[in-house]
């Protein structure tokens, strides 16, 4: 048995958890002291939710190479499923947890059913098919009250308990990052990336590409489901409008800005972008608010033209790599 020098040092994951818990305590303290007012707490929660959803899309697109424009649809599935559950079972921590699990599971199930046929398509054909699925899903949500009156159709679903608090978002955000890290840096993760790199070559070295494409898609959509469930119980009101095509682009933008195939990138971009957008809302006078929506696509274009790899371009923070760096490099 050889011993790897690196194994004696503490696992970088352990460091990550320590740092994260420290950060959590700090943020909680700031809230207690009233430094972070409820508005910014809400923004912080939203950033965490965006992070979870964007990690899912990064797994689908950044790692597995399957371009999806329908991510918001799965976010919506998670949101509505969990809201229905907590409304039926009554509010409480237990039902919220159950709702999150159910939201994730249903989003994953829908992803599995739609993914099996659709993931055969390549590149922009897949993009347009997922886009179509997203639009269909929105139409179904708009008409949902015909089947389940509680869902409210196009006028929205209200009466959802406000159960999502910062500790919930934080715990799920942290778990999402760690699960993703462990998944990506594993044999399964390499199989996913091989599909992105060259589907035919992946098949030629024994990777069942259909299976791994579906796996990446299902897990990624499960992430969207978790994010949706947290979102539903943060705002206590759902409207199909929040899960349309533009929402899918929103998440895509975070993934692209941060960097395809980089967890660190998504982490930074989700938080920075949410705070920037909300920060501008507060900082800018009302008369120029509309400019936010002009700047937003410009950022997208500029990044694609000048830094297509995003901020992190497939690199990671040290603590998000499973092994300590080697001497060389």
């Amino acid at each position: 048995m050889r011993t790897d020098g690196a194994r004696r040092r503490p696992e970088p994951g352990t460091i990550a958890v320590i740092v994260a818990v420290g950060g959590f305590v700090l943020l909680q303290a700031l809230m207690w002291l009233g430094v972070l007012n409820p508005y910014w707490q809400q923004v912080l929660n939203l950033a965490g939710i965006t992070l979870i959803s964007a990690l899912g899309l990064n797994l689908i697109y950044g790692y597995t190479g399957q371009f999806s424009l329908g991510h918001a649809a799965f976010y919506g599935v998670g949101a509505y499923a969990s809201a229905l559950l907590t409304r039926s079972l009554g509010p409480g921590a237990g039902t919220l947890l159950l709702g999150i699990v159910a939201g994730a599971a249903l989003a994953a199930l829908v992803a599995f059913l739609i993914g099996l046929p659709i993931l055969r398509l390549r590149s922009d054909y897949l993009a347009i098919a997922t886009l179509g699925f997203g639009i269909i899903m929105k139409v179904l949500l708009d008409n949902s009250d015909a089947v389940i009156p509680m869902m409210g159709g196009s006028s929205g679903m209200s009466g959802i308990a406000r159960l999502t608090t910062f500790p919930w978002v934080f715990a799920f955000g942290l778990a999402a990052v760690l699960v993703m890290r462990n998944l990506v840096f594993s044999s399964v993760g390499r199989a996913l990336v091989s599909v992105r790199e060259d589907e035919l070559a992946a098949e030629a070295v024994g990777i069942d590409t259909t299976r791994y494409k579906t796996l990446g898609f299902v897990i990624g959509c499960g992430y969207a489901g978790v994010a949706g469930a947290l979102y539903a119980h943060l705002y206590a009101y759902l409207n199909p409008f929040s899960f349309d095509f533009l929402k899918s682009i929103d998440v895509l933008l975070v993934v692209v800005l941060g960097g395809l195939g980089s967890i660190s990138g998504t982490l930074v971009a989700a938080i920075a972008w949410t705070f920037l957008l909300e920060g501008l809302r507060v900082a800018l006078p009302a008369s120029v608010q509309d400019w936010r929506m002009v700047i937003y696509p410009l950022v997208m274009i500029v990044f694609m033209l000048f830094r297509p790899g995003g901020i992190f371009a497939r690199t990671e923070f040290g603590f998000l790599k499973p092994r300590a760096r080697r001497g060389k490099e």
């Binding site: 399964v188 098949e203 070295v205 590409t209 796996l215």
Partner: protein, 256 residues
């Protein structure tokens, strides 16, 4: 004794175009067989049919007595048929080590749950995969390169990496599609030695498509010649060299 690979009556048709017709090929255990012919003769199409990239229009492909025609490529690979590509297809944004490891993934058993929870089973398997991949890299002289991205390797090393990747999960049969393409004479000489070496070391059977006569005549025990999708000759290298049909179809119209 039945052949390791036994192709009979292979027909490949794309729309109205017949790419391969009535093709038969037997390769015995531990043989090194060459497949030659002018461009567009259907050699790569035969490879694609054997490895499952194409579904044969008709015919049978038996590997170790088992029918593999129409199986998906990853199934064919898992049964022990590995290949390289004419125009090198590495996972460019993966490291050299990862390129090789991923080709051994199918033998692993630690799935998503073990990976996410980092169980002992997962750790053992990762160690086994890395050790095995490093072994192959050492054989190919690439051990110093393991943390480089595949796209950053020079051409000759990319070729060797592709062979390392093809060998990592102990295939029985290796299909090499023009491995000497784009190499200089010195590299070609090295490649010929390498082919001989890995064949002995891993008890391999090799089927080789090649344009460079030096390689085919130098390493192959038996050579098949294709033209217009059909086999026109078969025999030992010196017989092929003397075959008038071959000279007319191939050697006469191209460099010797």
């Amino acid at each position: 004794m039945s052949a390791l690979l036994d192709v009979t009556g292979l027909l490949m048709r794309f729309g109205g175009l017949v790419a391969v017709r009535d093709f038969a090929l037997q390769v015995d255990e531990h043989e090194l067989v060459g497949l030659i012919g002018p461009n567009g003769a259907g050699k790569t199409t035969v490879f694609n049919a054997i490895t499952g990239m194409y579904r044969p229009t008709a015919g049978s492909i038996r590997f170790r007595g088992r029918e593999i025609a129409g199986l998906k490529p990853h199934r064919v690979y898992q049964l022990g048929v590995a290949r390289t590509f004419q125009n090198i297809r590495l996972f460019r944004e993966l490291t050299v080590l990862d390129n090789v490891r991923v080709a051994d993934h199918h033998r692993g058993e630690a799935g998503v749950l073990h990976s996410v929870l980092r169980t002992p089973k997962f750790r053992n398997e990762e160690r086994r995969l890395a050790d095995r991949a490093r072994e192959l890299l050492a054989v190919m002289g690439l051990e110093q390169r393991e943390s480089e991205y595949a796209r950053n390797l020079p051409y000759g090393e990319q070729r060797r990496l592709e062979i390392a990747r093809a060998l990592v999960s102990d295939p029985k049969l290796l299909l090499l599609d023009e491995p000497a393409a784009g190499m200089n004479p010195y590299e070609v000489g090295q490649l010929m030695e390498l082919i001989q070496f890995v064949r002995e070391r891993f008890r391999l059977t090799v089927l080789l498509i090649e344009h460079q006569m030096r390689v085919v005549m130098g390493v192959c025990q038996r050579v098949l010649v294709m033209e217009f999708g059909e086999k026109i000759a078969e025999g030992r290298p010196e017989e092929i060299r003397a075959n008038p049909k071959v000279i007319e179809a191939y050697l006469g119209t191209s460099e010797g």
